[in-house]
């Protein structure tokens, strides 16, 4: 998971607005069901968890299974009442964590 994840988060909003967030991360999401040319199964290796917090509070979480497509993409909404920071984390089967952050000004 070396590439930076891509985020679409509005930079501003009005208090009480429900904003939409889109996230995309590069990952092959190897299912564990494929076989290589010699017939040997290719081991599973996926991102299994995605979490979004706002000012430290969890707002959205996804438990991923191999049936999530490669380059996991998520869209979800958040009702914003205050300015602050969104923090995103993706965890893979090896326990590697990739993080990203984006602030929002709410007036």
């Amino acid at each position: 998971m070396a590439e930076k994840p891509r985020l679409r988060v509005p930079s501003e909003a009005k208090k009480g607005d429900i904003i939409q967030i889109k996230t995309l991360i590069s990952h092959v999401m190897e299912t564990g069901f494929r076989k290589d040319e010699s017939g040997k199964p290719i081991p599973r290796e996926i991102i299994n968890s995605f979490v979004c917090t706002f000012n430290g509070h969890e707002v959205f979480r996804a438990d991923l299974e191999p049936a999530i497509s490669a380059n996991p993409y998520f869209e979800f909404t958040v009702k914003v009442e205050d300015s602050g920071t969104f923090a995103f984390a993706w965890v893979d089967d090896n326990g590697t964590v990739t993080t990203a952050e984006q602030g929002i000004t709410v007036s």
Partner: protein, 149 residues
């Protein structure tokens, strides 16, 4: 030709039979999908009509099928959708994803892209903070499956 003892012949016969009977575990059975559904909602009845499932009728590429879910809910601190579970009956494992929402979600919506192994039914289940259960399903025709080799 050396003569086979009766026991050897039986063992040989058994060996051939065993290799011919290959278990196809590449697709979950509807029973496995139902078991996965039962894991989420238990034995309780789930209400239909509260979940809008946006999925193509025909998916050209089972490797990436766009899925958008909307659940009818006030999403207040006292009454909000806490979990959304997606299950498919044409995949090696029926479980696809589980979303966890909070009152801060504002709306009970989530979208992603999923893999479907073949034509089948996608079931979406939802749980609310007040203990309500919702279920809806949609059939997707998949022309090229996307789960295995």
């Amino acid at each position: 030709m050396p003569s086979l003892t009766r026991r050897s012949a039986l063992l040989l016969g058994a060996g051939i039979t065993l290799t011919l009977v290959a278990v196809d575990d590449s697709v979950a059975t509807p029973a496995e999908a139902d078991a996965e559904i039962a894991k989420f909602i238990g034995a309780k009845a789930a209400e239909g009509g509260k979940i809008t499932i946006d999925l193509p009728e025909i998916a050209e590429n089972g490797n990436t099928v766009p899925l958008a879910i909307k659940v009818d809910s006030p999403m207040t601190a006292d009454d909000y959708v806490s979990e959304i579970r997606v299950i498919g009956d044409a995949n090696p494992n029926p479980g696809i994803v589980k979303f966890h929402l909070t009152p801060m979600s504002g709306r009970a919506e989530a979208a992603t892209r999923i893999r479907l192994g073949g034509t089948g039914t996608v079931t979406v289940l939802a749980k609310t903070s007040t203990g309500k259960l919702y279920a809806d399903r949609k059939v997707v025709k998949v022309t090229v499956g996307g789960c295995g080799g």
